[in-house]
Symmetry: C2
Amino acid sequence: MKPMKISEAVVRRLPVYLQVLNDLHMRDVQTVSSQELGNRLDLNPAQIRKDLAYFGDFGRKGIGYDVTYLIEKIKQILKLDQPLNVALVGAGNLGRALCNYNMYLKDNMKITAVFDVHPSMIGTSINGLTVLPMEKLAETIRELRIRIGIITVPAVEAQNVADQFVEAGVDGILNFAPTILRLQDQVRIHYANFTTELMSLAYYLNEEEENDDESDLD
Amino acid sequence: MKPMKISEAVVRRLPVYLQVLNDLHMRDVQTVSSQELGNRLDLNPAQIRKDLAYFGDFGRKGIGYDVTYLIEKIKQILKLDQPLNVALVGAGNLGRALCNYNMYLKDNMKITAVFDVHPSMIGTSINGLTVLPMEKLAETIRELRIRIGIITVPAVEAQNVADQFVEAGVDGILNFAPTILRLQDQVRIHYANFTTELMSLAYYLNEEEENDDESDLD
DNA sequence: TAGATTGTTAATCGATTAACAATC
DNA sequence: TAGATTGTTAATCGATTAACAATC
């Protein structure tokens, strides 16, 4: 393995490639070219070839990429060929939705523990998992070798939960709360914020509206 | 207004700035420097100044940025100073979670209509909204001047829902389903995919694991 | 004033795209 | 073979960062 530093942009595209490849696989497509992948994803074929070439020679000149093989390879790169246990704190609406999403996570990723602070929540069952009290967090994370923590609590509690996750030895956090977390650098944080996403989408819409403004008909 | 093209990276950072600024505002902080914002967000201060300067001279030399004023300005840029109506299709777990999230959306963005295909869902109430049948989609979107559609249906139905949204005149889509949509270019699509996010996070975790393996230096 | 900090230009860095030899 | 398509190098494009005059 070359010790090359892969840019974040490349890493973020890999799961998207996987998504399309899984779709092609379902349709019994055997082989796909970078051209075809580029069409589907609105990406430059050269970029796709380059992204993949960082990790190995997965294609065949004159032929393209074998769909099944490439799926396997990308899964290896993302280490989805081994189980990845995930914990979630915050069994509210969003938390429960993500737990039930588990079906999609056939890729060895699995939410294996759910926690909440509210006594009324504790002991209830979500998609086969029993909601545990926060006191059990550290212990459970160690026992189940959980490596990623998902935060679906209100903004004010997010930092506190993140600290507890780090303390318990998690090394990645996916934060759905609208808060910027302050943590040691060695813990990787990804943000998944609905509001942020909508806001940037709104920016583009409203550019269009400026065109409409003049023709005020009623 | 200069007709300058703003890069997507810049636009995506604006809501994040807003998030920090709102937090500072809550804490009664009057003024903030690009330095301070950079600290909080792990961004280069020059980048923040440059981002903001695309849209106007919001700061004061020697002083910094007035928090309240900058919040107002960024909201204007994102056009959050006017109401933005949003529709959601798919009143499952995730859809309901997002509807209830509405509290966070004090920024003039609001889910104002919810739809579902399942007869058992139709007529039920979510956060004050009555779930409507798909037949009502086009009509409702026009009447309420809805500009953004959120998709929270299973993967296989996503393309169909997207087509209906576009047909009804929506000009932006936020897709939570794990599917790449094919639409006309004039409609802007953002993806918010839980699984994709987890996968890219997983990539980085596992790099760390490889580092732990070898404790030898030369 | 003196120190701080912006807005902006110039320098650097990195990512995307084009082009093409290798080869299936 | 002839056409197709990769992997990769070189060219281009764009984004980030450094530096500093302007000025509060």
